[in-house]
Amino acid sequence: MTCEIKSEVSLDLDECLQRLYKGQLLSETIIEQLCFKLKELLIQDSNLIHLASPITLVGDIHGQFFDLLEIFKIGGYPPDTNYLFLGDYVDRGYHSIETISLLIVLKLKYPSRVTLIRGNHESRQITTNYGFYTECATKYGQQSKVWKLFTDLFDFFPLAASIDGSLFCVHGGLSPNVQSIDSILVIDRFKEIPHDGPMADLVWSDPDIELLNFRISSRGAGYQFGINVVNKFLHLNGFERIYRAHQLCNEGYQVFWRGKVNTVWSAPNYCYRCGNKASILEITENLDANPKGFKFNVFDASPDSEKEFTQIENGLGSIDYDELSGDYDDDDNFGWQNVATGAPMNRIMKKAPYVEYFM
């Protein structure tokens, strides 16, 4: 590993945060250092993180950076609120890099307040096809290695979390190979998400209300799981409920089997055109003591996301990152990009026709 930490001064987390909250990008050098630091931290974590309430659960974000800021406005900024993010930070939305950079810096600054687990999009193969790779190449240039830095870091993300020992949190769902928590603990997670096996199932599988047991999906790979396996898993491991993300729902959350399995979805107006709501799950008390100590806080798209969406929808313009591809003059700017200073967050540049003479 050729990561050179110049000095602690160059990695000023406060300054990083300040820039990221403004929607500016960090330089490749900084990202390299951040990823290195975070790997050092995450390598000590077990596959299953133990957390305690009060805590707020956040589902898929998918690069909708302005909606992530909205989440902080609604749920409170770290470190005032504890956060558990359930994966799928990148792809689809237009600001995957801003989103993952901000989450990385927050995790480094408040390691015990912010927890990031791995989703199926935190993988090399998936990000190649669904936007993150392209975004890295567009914003940092074809030669840059930020995509590699980020995806190498994803290998270190833990796979699941438990809250107060009674809530099991994971991105996708259960696996036939995971009867008990021990089977999660023994996974070698420091690798690309495989097609097969418990690690894949944890980030991929979906509940199906009509099912009792596991069933392979009609695609020919992957599982759907039913109530019996849920009951068995909860009972064997002493959990009360399962919280997961992974599936779009119009209402922002979905409750299966009277709350035994719950979906939290945190990307409002998904892909800037689904018109769906999003939610974060605020767990205020230990649910063992008070089963009603939680709340799905439902919200709509942030005005900034909405503006961006409206402009795309109206065909008035598209996002242009050209101004970000300036010089990377690390010496003069302590590692910051020249261009990052004062660039407007919503870069609506190209005029497109309102209508299209399609054939």
Binding site: P176, R215, R219, A221, M359
Partner: protein
């Protein structure tokens, strides 16, 4: 640039198009759902095979035509004469149309804008929400209304002579609506399901009412085992799983209630009413490109998705629909695009062309499919 399959015949192929002359006096017919009644084997599978030079050329010309037609008129190149491409295209398209029987009252409908009756909202619109205004400068219907974009409440519409056109764009379905859809369809709906979106073309004088919506589109999704694809790594996955779950009662290793999870649809719109006789099948007819490429102002434009699914990140399946309405004609393009990574790519196009001057309705289908590897090979540099 993939192989077009010319061999298939569609149900609609049994019917004629019509001119106003044909249909103007017919009584209302009971509504007819062509798709739900479609007998088995109606949609022969496209043949996946390599494509020949002729087809590549035709596809290239079609692409050029599209590009040219998007350019403002002043940039139009001399090469863009649409007639050049006709010969090639007729082999690709399945057209229905009537014939040379043009309407006799043609003279009454002049091509000048003044004689065309444009009305916004459409004359049959009884919805108070139909408030999408027309642009003061160009006359085009403004969609979405700037102040009312989110959540979408637009129900724009326009009338040209006695034709009415309606579209609707709404958010994805709620949990209850999804359950309702699934109880009808018997299969899970796509991840993003815009079940309340629609495009409707209506002419009550001529007894024609065609609608495009996602529920009817999903009805054409196959539940036949032989149509069902597997993801590229399915065999490998299945083998290792079957071994692991040997004697495990918790895991069901067969696919129950199989359905085409790629949501490939053979949908060509719902014929709520069509004039007696229906459409006439005529492969020799093509949509008149000269009229569509002449850049008359667009009075009404909309572009929407009916459904979209990322196939569990194994590719993508979308059903998109676009509409543009000019003074003299209109065009609807419904495109189903399916990409199954490392397996195949499919494009199913349906075009609906209405000529207001000649009262001619043409519906055309084009199905294309190619193996993923072959396509990638043909796109990459030697």
């Amino acid at each position: 640039m993939v192989k077009a399959n010319n061999a298939e015949k569609d149900e609609a192929s049994s019917g004629p198009t019509f001119s106003s002359h044909d249909v103007i006096n017919h009584e209302n017919q009971p509504s007819r759902k062509a798709i739900t009644k479609a007998p088995d084997g109606l949609y022969p599978k496209p043949i996946a095979s390599s494509f020949n030079t002729f087809q590549i050329d035709a596809a290239r010309r079609m692409h050029m035509l599209t590009i040219n037609s998007r350019m403002p008129p002043r940039f139009k190149t001399p090469n863009s004469d649409p007639r050049d491409t006709k010969a090639g295209q007729s082999r690709h398209f399945h057209d229905e149309k009537s014939s040379e029987s043009r309407s006799p009252d043609k003279n009454e409908q002049s091509t000048t804008d003044k004689d065309v009756q444009v009305q916004v909202p459409a004359m049959g619109c009884d919805d108070q929400n139909c408030q999408n205004p027309r642009c003061a400068h160009c006359g085009a219907v403004i969609i979405p209304a700037p102040a009312a974009t989110f959540p979408f409440k637009d129900t724009p519409s326009i009338s040209i002579n006695d034709w009415e056109i309606y579209t609707a764009r709404k958010p994805i379905l709620t949990k209850e609506e999804i359950e309702h859809f699934e109880s009808i369809l018997g299969v899970p709906v796509p991840e993003m399901i815009f079940g309340n979106n629609k495009v409707e073309v209506l002419n009550s004088n001529k007894n024609l009412h065609i609608c495009f919506n996602s529920l009817d589109a999903l009805r054409t999704v196959s539940v036949d085992n032989k149509d069902i694809l597997k993801v590229s790594y399915a065999d490998e996955w299945f083998k290792s799983r079957a071994k692991a779950h040997h004697n495990d009662d918790d895991v069901l290793m067969e696919i129950i209630k199989p359905y085409d999870w790629t949501y490939t649809t053979h949908y060509f719109g719902t014929d709520l009413t069509v004039p007696e006789g229906g459409f006439v099948h005529d492969d020799s007819y093509t949509i008149p490109h000269d009229k569509l490429t002449k850049h008359s102002p667009i009075l009404f434009f909309d572009d929407m998705t009916l459904f979209e699914d990322e196939l569990g990140d194994n590719g993508i399946s979308t059903l998109n629909i676009k509409i543009r309405v000019m003074h003299d004609c209109m065009l609807v393009l419904q495109r189903s695009f399916v990409r199954v990574d490392n397996v195949l790519v499919r494009i199913h196009d349906t075009r609906l062309y209405v000529d207001f001057e000649e009262n001619l309705v043409v519906r055309e289908f084009k199905r294309q499919q190619q193996d993923y590897d072959k396509l990638v090979k043909s796109c990459s540099r030697p």
